[in-house]
Amino acid sequence: MTATISTPLALIAELTHRCPLHCVYCSNPLELQSRRLELSTEVWSRVLKEAAEAGVLQVDFTGGEPLARPDLVELIRVARAAGLYVNLITSGLPLDERRLAEIVNAGLDHLQLSFQGAQEDAASEIAGTRVLEQKLQVIKWMRAHRIGFTLNFVIHRQNLNRLEEMISLGVESGAGRLEFAHVQYYGWAFVNRQLLLPTREQVDHSIRLLQQAQAELRGKVRVEYVTPDYYAKFPKACMGGWGRRLMLITPSGDALPCHAARVIPGLKFENVMNLDLLRIWRESDAFQRFRGEAWMQDPCKSCDRRTQDFGGCRCQAFLLTGDAAATDPVCSLSPQRPRVDATLAALNNPIAPSEAIAFDAPTPPAKISWAYRRNPA
């Protein structure tokens, strides 16, 4: 018996993989789609109308950098006219005052501005280009328009020691909402995991600071944070459950249950060029595969938490165990949890360098070597 299929609540419209930034934890896949494969304005417009008819409440325009699409203003207008709540997730880099006014007038409801840090040097290292000054300018323009906005800070080992400065910047910005998201380890972040994964001490400290900020700012600014699940006892309810609430459309029109789903071998994705959105939601092999509970193994299958976390993240299960139907290995009940513990132990209790290398001339501290994403053709 298949599970009852709910309606999707949000559509994540990944308009392009092109981006002026090269963030070392980018959520785009390692294989970026080129510009010539991107959907046309007409197809996106149809998809947005189909989404609203299917019951979707909100569209998140994202990328890459969604402002790289010259038709963004038109797509915002179409989405809003269809009855969707329109959110734009952007680096803010390609914005100027005139373009912001255009997207606000087209019906934008909310803008989410991503931050790599609270200082130019640190932010530039993560993004691979200078970014901070422009973002601060964008905030000024947004306040003048009285548009709702969230600042999203992505946090990790290299910037957690500056968390207090990020909180201050967020409070001063006048944002209604601040989001502090620990990096999740898929795609580019998985490649750079050894440099991004925070220590236990950093995690505990950051959670204390964020809880304090949450309490102090209650009623003024909403502070939300995502904890790093490697340090959690139970897995996150990834995407609110597979195929339960969210649907992601890639630049070329493939419909995915989440950003990373393409890493799972054997999943067959439908494309919006061939099938309408609601049929994809209901019938696509990729959406059906991990819906409900039939696919679950022990310990999930008989666990009381299976209706809360839905077994955790399928992509993480695959990346860390090789089996996409396994219990998410960050779960303390998973037989594979020792793999995650080994990764954390190597980070938190590094073995002292052996005496043998003391004969070598002292070497300068190794420069961090990030794997930066490129810009697709």
């Binding site: 409440l57 709540y85 909310h110 989410q112 209604g176 009623g219 600014v221 909403r222």
Partner: protein, 100 residues
């Protein structure tokens, strides 16, 4: 900021009612939405920056004349405080102060 009888609540930036032709009506916010039933919808539609809390209470007391007036007032104040805490409504005077 205390909720006073002459406060004029209005929806915070980024929060709005869903279109009237879509059902059920929702209060839409970044990353979430609140489903609105009869009385909550009546309250939220009056969070427009021009109705005072006193006016909202008196209009709903007339509309729900079978309910105890004190109960209606208490429920409205509770609901507005909740919406304020969730950053769904601003109280007009503090919003003006934030623009300084």
């Amino acid at each position: 900021m205390h909720l006073e009888m002459n406060t004029r609540p209005r929806l915070a930036p980024g929060c709005r009612l869903s279109d009237s032709e879509r059902s059920p009506r929702m209060l839409q916010m970044p990353e979430r939405a609140l489903r609105l039933n009869g009385s909550s919808l009546e309250i939220v539609t009056r969070c427009d920056g021009s109705h005072t809390v006193r006016q909202i209470i008196s209009e709903l007391q007339k509309m729900y004349s079978k309910a105890e007036p004190e109960r209606v007032e208490k429920d409205i104040l509770g609901y507005l405080s909740l919406l304020h805490e969730q950053r769904a409504v601003d109280f007009a005077d503090e919003d003006a102060a934030a623009q300084e």
